[in-house]
């Protein structure tokens, strides 16, 4: 809605503070910011239900096969999961600080905190890759490759647990990889000086995504690694 004044000799647009990243369909940067935050939460609500569907199926079978679920969780290296949980929480802190630095107009502070977030996210993925390799070697990948047979009577149910394990952690890791790609783009944008107190919405939205992925892991860790009676080793 840019009004044009026609009283003078030349038309003068009424947009003295036209910010380079203000999209034409928004009244101002404040409205644009609220719309993008709200839009991101709308997306996250679909993500909550997306992961919620898998979690619900997981709980149905956990109720049906409690022994197999405890044995399945015992196949995990619990302390690697614990370390990864801490690593991901640290990455959430650095992500929150990246947003804070953007709000305060600290260009390099934003860049460093985004790099730190990418660094800890990458450590998480590295540890995850190591766990995947171990599980593959132990025959804990469902399907033809599955040859875990310590408790023959429960093997098919343990295989079902591992199917949930690979699906849930795999979907989570996919989100992490997408997040890492986005972070690379955001590091460049922050370095180019795109963000500041007037325009930190994209960093905020990036943070919402990253924290959401962290929350998913906060639930996956106890669900997949810490079922009581699971770890005696």
């Amino acid at each position: 809605m840019s009004e044009i004044t026609l009283t003078g000799d030349t038309p003068v647009p009424h947009e003295e503070h036209h910010h380079p990243f203000l999209q034409h369909h928004f009244e101002d940067l404040g409205q644009q910011h609220e719309a993008s935050t709200l839009g991101m939460w709308m997306f996250l609500s679909t993500e909550i239900l997306f992961f919620g569907g898998v979690l619900c199926a997981y709980w149905v079978y956990r109720v049906l096969y409690p022994e197999a679920w405890a044995i399945g969780a015992a196949q995990q290296i619990w302390w690697l999961g614990a370390i990864n949980t801490i690593v991901l929480i640290i990455s959430s802190l650095t992500m929150a600080l990246a947003v804070r630095n953007a709000q305060l107009g600290r260009r390099m502070g934003t860049v460093y905190m985004l790099i730190a977030t990418l660094f800890f996210g990458s450590i998480f993925l590295g540890v995850k890759a190591y766990e995947y390799m171990k599980h593959w070697q132990e025959g804990l990948f469902p399907g033809a490759a599955f040859h875990w047979n310590e408790v023959p009577a429960l093997a098919p149910k343990v295989q079902l647990f591992m199917t949930f394990y690979w699906s849930m952690t795999g979907l989570h890791a996919l989100h992490m990889i997408i997040g890492a790609g986005l972070l690379l783009w955001f590091i460049w944008r922050a370095w180019a000086g795109h963000f500041g107190p007037e325009y930190y919405g994209p960093v905020e939205v990036m943070g919402l995504y990253w924290h959401f992925v962290d929350i998913v892991w906060i639930f996956l860790f106890p669900f997949l690694y810490l079922i009581h009676g699971a770890h005696h080793g």
């Binding site: 404040g30 802190l93 639930f219």
Partner: protein
């Protein structure tokens, strides 16, 4: 709106450092607690305790790291509605499964 367009920057709520650090510390403590609690045989309480700790951690992240505590009411509606629908998914599913298998319990 016509008289003030193009001028309004987003409202900036800069969360103090100590809040971020306290939340981080609480999340780390929660992680340690959930590991420790899983080591003890608490009978039927092991699962609820793990769930409660995870839920508290998630709420802390949502309120402080995701800034929902300073968000518009519309954002609150979307956030709460998301979990409400998640609740519907779980309640209706288990209203079925838990009552079908009543003889186990």
């Amino acid at each position: 709106m016509a008289d003030d367009h193009g001028r309004h920057a987003p409202k900036v709520h800069v969360t103090p450092m100590w809040i971020y650090l306290t939340v981080f510390f609480a999340l780390a403590v929660g992680t340690v607690l959930t590991v420790v609690a899983s080591r003890f045989d608490l009978g039927m309480w092991n699962t609820p305790i793990a769930l409660v700790i995870a839920t508290i951690k998630a709420v802390l992240v949502i309120l402080f790291f995701m800034h929902v505590i300073h968000s518009t009411r519309l954002t609150w509606v979307v956030v709460i509605a998301s979990f409400l629908w998640l609740g519907v998914l779980f309640v209706l599913t288990f209203a079925d499964y838990l009552t079908r298998l009543w003889k186990i319990y």
